[in-house]
């Protein structure tokens, strides 16, 4: 967050933002995570007025945490452990705090990313130096600790959401997930439904199971699902081999560098008797073979930083960690305990080839610090979970991508930057990656939009973020997917990369009410008991009404053609004017000739704010593509000033 505000254009639009979001200090962002490190400067409340009168929450006390740890910035903190303790036994307070205190770092990182105060001179060991700030630095923060050493349990998560609703948060940020069960069985989806009904936007991480298809979590349409992309910053650390070749990698190592001269390097698989010795797992390296050498380890199974610790414990002096096919060329930087760098799959293969061909291979690693202006950026992170939506294929997910790779934000004073127990270093900021990091970016931006437009529903805020997201670079080329090196698709990036300045004034929004979602549940053919369990009401679907999932007023389109099904699919949509009077014309782009798209009417005229106009989008399959294939398009409404864009994903099954 020393870079992401600028990357998102928040710095250039400062005056516009100040004027638009003057009420931001009344907005409350709730974060369900591992708790909070209240001493972080990111929770400094200098300049904050009294706590908003709407606030009903509290600052719960417990291990090493008192009510005085809250202030006008960090206005609430609670913890929920009954479910955890029932399953795993009483919390061992010598190992973790039975209180809102964050012993892990993850919760402090996500909370400060969403809404941390401005902190000058932030860095991790000098890396990513700058002024750190959350996306909504004037918003208030409320912490709900639900994740513990043994995991995050659904009973606790549900209770935390219950309390957050009582407390009157405006945005809920949840960087966690739990598989892909039906919405009526998924506690996050259930809790989010109630939150949505109270006007709370729920932003969730999409998951880190990419680049496999169907790998998304948090798929309910009342949740904003956030994937991850890179920013224009990198931390290069080159590998120089004895044959004169250089290979680029990344690292956040700070400490005694390797000597300028070349050192012997060995492949971990050749320094171990274990069948998985190449992975540098605990106790698998033979000290006599690695002592004084750089070790080449393959990525996978164990934590990246753990591999460095294993090499160090065995007497190695450095490590080159190479991606495998699962990660491709994606470079995620780590604050290793020894001089180490991560290289992409291709570089790793080249280095391994050299090691196997040279009888006395040598190498060194050169750390270059922080580089900005990296292009292209953003690119979709390989780990970011991908569509299609495995529960409701007619709803395109993820909704959007945001910065989630190598993000600097606040950290716990209880743990080192690697999170390893043997890491005795303590830092106030750390750099980590995941959709956990992209989710709070969107949460904070949603808080900004809420401040600018307090009357907007969660669906309107999400629509604004989605329809103004971008899918191509300034040079016109499509956003890339690091997993393939090719242009990414709406199954990877959803509506595209978030553009908060454009989202402030989107022109039109696709709004949704609770009734729309109830109709959606009817379209899914949920039973009365399932709807009642999810939506807390006796609701009977009208047997005379034809419910269609495709008619949910979503800001994106996913159309599935089945070989035995209809070749004409109609989706209805309603647009709400949130700008000035104007006439919007539709335009359609598609990469396939197999589907014809028409919109009726093609022009929508709005004379006043909040005026609603409907349209029907007809997709006609005039050809067929092989089963399991996908194709994509885009539908845009424009009045010449605004572009209200929606991705279209076609699939054939």
């Amino acid at each position: 967050t020393t870079r992401t505000p600028a990357f998102l254009g928040l710095d250039k639009a400062n005056q516009l933002l100040i004027e638009s979001t003057a009420g931001a200090s009344d907005v409350i962002v709730g974060v369900l995570d591992t708790g909070v490190w209240p001493e972080s400067k990111s929770f400094d409340d200098t300049g904050f007025g009294p706590v908003p009168s709407s606030w009903n929450g509290t600052c719960e006390e417990g291990t090493n945490f008192t009510a005085s740890n809250c202030n006008r910035k960090l206005i609430g903190a609670r913890y929920f452990a009954k479910g955890y303790e029932t399953t795993l036994g009483p919390i061992d307070v010598t190992r973790e705090s039975k209180s809102p205190r964050d012993d892990d770092g993850h919760g402090t990182h996500t909370a400060t990313t969403a809404a941390g105060s401005v902190v000058e001179g932030a860095s991790l060991f000098g890396y990513a130096q700058g002024t750190a700030r959350g996306m909504a630095p004037r918003a208030r923060v409320a912490i709900y600790k639900v994740c513990w050493l043994g995991g995050c349990f659904s009973t606790d998560i549900l209770m935390a959401m219950d309390k957050a609703i009582d407390d009157n948060v405006n945005v809920l940020s949840m960087s966690l997930g739990g598989g892909m069960s039906d919405y009526y069985k998924d506690s996050v989806a259930i809790g989010a439904f109630a939150a949505m009904e109270k006007g709370i936007l729920v932003s969730c991480s999409a998951g880190n199971a990419g680049p496999s298809p169907y790998s998304l979590s948090n798929l309910a349409p009342w949740i904003t699902t956030v994937g991850a992309g890179t920013i224009d910053r990198d931390f290069p650390a080159y590998v120089t081999l004895g044959n004169g070749q250089n290979y680029s990698g990344v690292s956040l190592f700070r400490g005694n560098a390797l000597p300028g001269s070349l050192l012997p390097i060995i492949y971990a698989g050749n320094a171990s008797n274990a069948t998985n010795g190449n992975l540098c797992m605990m106790d698998t390296l033979i000290p006599e073979k690695v002592a004084g050498k750089i070790v080449l380890c393959d990525r996978g199974v164990s934590a990246r930083v753990q591999k460095g610790a294993v090499v160090k414990a065995a007497g190695g002096v450095g490590m080159v960690l190479t991606n495998t096919a699962a990660n491709g060329e994606e470079l995620v930087a780590d604050a290793h305990l020894l001089p180490a760098t991560t290289v992409g799959q291709k570089s790793g293969e080249a280095i391994r080839k050299y090691l196997f061909s040279d009888p006395n291979p040598t190498a060194t690693v050169v750390f270059e610090g922080t580089k900005v202006g990296i292009e292209p950026s953003p690119v979709v992170a390989a780990f970011s979970s991908r569509g299609p939506n495995s529960i409701t294929p007619e709803i395109l997910k993820p909704d959007i991508i945001a910065p989630g790779v190598n993000i600097l934000a606040g950290w716990s004073g209880e743990v080192g930057p690697t999170g390893l127990s043997i890491d005795g270093r303590r830092v106030t900021f750390n750099i980590i990656s995941g959709t956990s990091m992209s989710c709070p970016h969107v949460s904070g931006l949603a808080a900004l939009l809420k401040a600018a437009h307090p009357e907007w529903s969660p669906a309107a805020i999400r629509s604004a973020l989605m329809t103004t997201a971008y899918t191509s670079y300034k040079n016109g080329q499509s956003i890339r997917d690091v997993a393939t090196g090719k242009p990414s698709t709406p199954l990877d990036h959803g509506s595209g990369h978030v553009d908060p300045v454009s989202a402030l004034y989107p022109g039109l929004v696709y709004d949704l009410t609770v009734n729309d979602y109830l109709g959606f549940l009817c379209a899914l053919k949920y039973t009365g008991a399932q709807i009642s369990g999810l939506a807390r009401r006796k609701f009977t679907c009208d047997p005379s009404k034809k419910y269609s999932v495709g008619d949910l007023n979503y800001p994106s389109f996913a159309v599935n053609f089945q070989s035995s099904g209809p070749t004409v699919v109609k989706y209805s949509r309603t647009l709400t004017n949130v700008g000035s009077a104007g006439t919007y014309k539709v335009s359609i782009k598609t990469e396939t000739q197999a589907v014809k798209i028409s919109v009726e009417p093609e022009t929508l005229s709005f004379s006043q704010v909040n005026e609603k106009k409907g349209c029907t989008v007809t997709f006609t399959a005039v050809g067929s593509l092989p089963s399991d294939s996908n194709s994509f398009g885009r539908l845009e409404w424009s009045d010449g000033k605004h572009i209200v864009g929606s991705p279209i994903a076609f699939s054939w099954s």
Binding site: T87, H106, C152, L176, G177, I190, S205, G434, S532
Partner: protein, 82 residues
């Protein structure tokens, strides 16, 4: 194994609460007592669902599912940070 307790989230149809109960928590407690003398409520939820969480044996959970006003008895799920 059949006596091993697991945690469940119990969804209740609040609209089906008999008039004889003054407060929904009493109704929840009565429903729970009908299948277990010893089970305790972990949480009573007021906003996100109508219901509560508790620890039950598989047999008790199955029995509770058949009680009037019980919509579903869903097992605890572990979520992970992303």
């Amino acid at each position: 194994e059949t006596n091993q307790r697991k945690t469940y989230i119990v969804h209740m149809a609040k609209s089906d609460m008999p008039a004889s109960f003054e407060h929904h928590s009493h109704w929840y407690d009565s429903s729970l007592r009908s299948v277990s003398d010893s089970a305790e409520m972990l949480y009573i939820y007021n906003n996100v669902i109508h219901g509560f969480s508790t620890s039950l044996t598989a047999e008790e959970a199955q029995s509770l599912e058949g009680q009037p006003g019980v919509l579903s008895v869903l097992p605890e799920v572990k979520y992970e940070l992303h």
